[in-house]
Amino acid sequence: MSKISYLPGKEPDSCEHRMIFKNIDRKGWDPSIACYLKDGGYEQLRKALKMNPEDITNEVKISGLRGRGGAGFPTGVKWGFIPPNNSKPVYLICNCDESEPGTFKDRYIVHQDPHQLIEGMLISALAIGAHTAYIYMREEFPEAAILMEKAIEEAREKNFLGSDILGSGFDLEIYIHRGAAAYICGEETGLIESLEGKRPYPRIKPPYFPAALGLYMAPTIVNNVESICHVKHIIEMGGAEYAKLGTPRNTGTRILCVSGDVKKPGYYEVEVGKITMGELLNDVCGGPLDGRTFKACIPGGSSAKILRCDETFKIGNGENQKELGFYDIPMDFDTMAACGSMAGSGGVIVMDDSRKMSWVLNNINHFYAHESCGQCTPCREGSMWMRKISDRIVDGKATPEDIQTLEDVAYQIDGRTVCAFGEAASWPVEAMISKFRDELEAETSEDNEYLSPEAKRQLKNIS
């Protein structure tokens, strides 16, 4: 194919480095295998089939790739956790649950570029020795499920999938497994339970690290869609070359998804850490809406702690300590963590000065109260009470003590649960109160009754 051009209005920003999203909104592009092959598709599979599995894993380790699903864990290192003397089948699972609020990137890959994902999965499966792989796809992507199945069929016809792939002796089948609209199925052990046909109750770690005890109690690698696509490009470039993209320890590109109060929301693939929050929001996304100013930002999906746009952060220790304004934060994993939040899934949600923080928090609390799997008491009860208290705040029925109670409830969830949903649900509350306490308190009144009628009834039962 000749020079790449994009559909009108969908041209990438000049700061973008399109690799994973090279074909998204590309002019003349379609999801068929013919189109993919014309563009050099499955060449990296051919290359990988000639490599040792250990060498593939090694390239991924050298590349420094960190998981794009939320935790930012190094992919190659995770692959290395499969027990060396394992005799059970190994499974690869591609996490296409894409359910963290604010995140919208995997959607475009599975709708527009399915073969990139299949090629990435093939190379990953080769590296870890898997012969069966599943794509766990959220139920709300019905069209993508059909599209991906068609792509899998096309790949089988060309013997990129199936047995003795391209005469190499390597076998792989990929299947689509659709979820059923539950956020907790994005958590890898909840996902595995769901794939086993059960309620998606997450498993406790240790001992249930999927790499050792995953699907059907066999070694299982769960990776995000975007992470798996990166593997293809690592094989193409070589790990060392790939590692030159981005910044040290924060290598490669990643897709940032910006939504909320900016002029140009959308997806932007950039080198990790090479652009700052200010460049992203003001230049790439066109700044705030007319007459508005930025107020707050959730930088990595709704579970990430909210940041104030007028904040400054002290990062580093001793001599290396420095002050960093909100707009100067580079969009990477480590600095975002040092600023007390996380880069998470890349979902950047922006709020301007027209937004009330109580309303924002209440919306988030409803999400987590609805999505808790209910297995751990602190999470099940806590998420519901946090929702009820923030309901009271937005209804103008809260007292100043309610804010304290809300904060107390959050800190009683955090760190006391089976899975990281506990943190996902409580961090937004903790951060919102620490950063916007005055604003929240201003919406309460001493004249309100401290306990809701419902809380009073419950209190009667326990005392």
Binding site: E98, A180, A181, S194, G197, Y216
Partner: protein, 176 residues
Amino acid sequence: MKTQTTFPAFAVSPEIEDAAETRIAQYPNDQKRSAVLPLLHIVQHEFGFINREATEWVAQKLGLEPMQVHEVVSFYPGFREHAPGKYHFRVCRTLSCAMAGSAELMDRICELTGIDRSNSDSHHNPIAVSPCGLWSVEFAECLASCGTGPVCLVNDDFHEDVAPEKAENLIGQYNN
């Protein structure tokens, strides 16, 4: 008012048996239980919701107790135990869409289709159906298209940038 039924009653056809066998074959022979969700999807797609008979059929196909299937149906918001309308709207409720006006979109859809959501709640009774049985609505959580909110699904069709004032047009696409 009489509720119009828009879905056929549960009955197992050879096509459904075939589709089920294809899904069961995706999993290892001794792990048939994995096919619970795929089989439930087949049922719900065909019959609109999952009733007791369907639950028992799935259980029998996979060598499970009906309870093991029912606990799945009752957990996942994506599975329904009651009939929705012929056109089921799932409007994203989550933050970015809410900032873009999804609550107003929901109100407008209800107004135009005559749906009363006053008895709905997010957990036990999420779906509200219009008196004629043609339409139903439900709030969904983040549909992974936050940059183009408000978004919604109508059955399996995805719609983005549906500002409340576009509700009429959206419904018009299905009004038949």
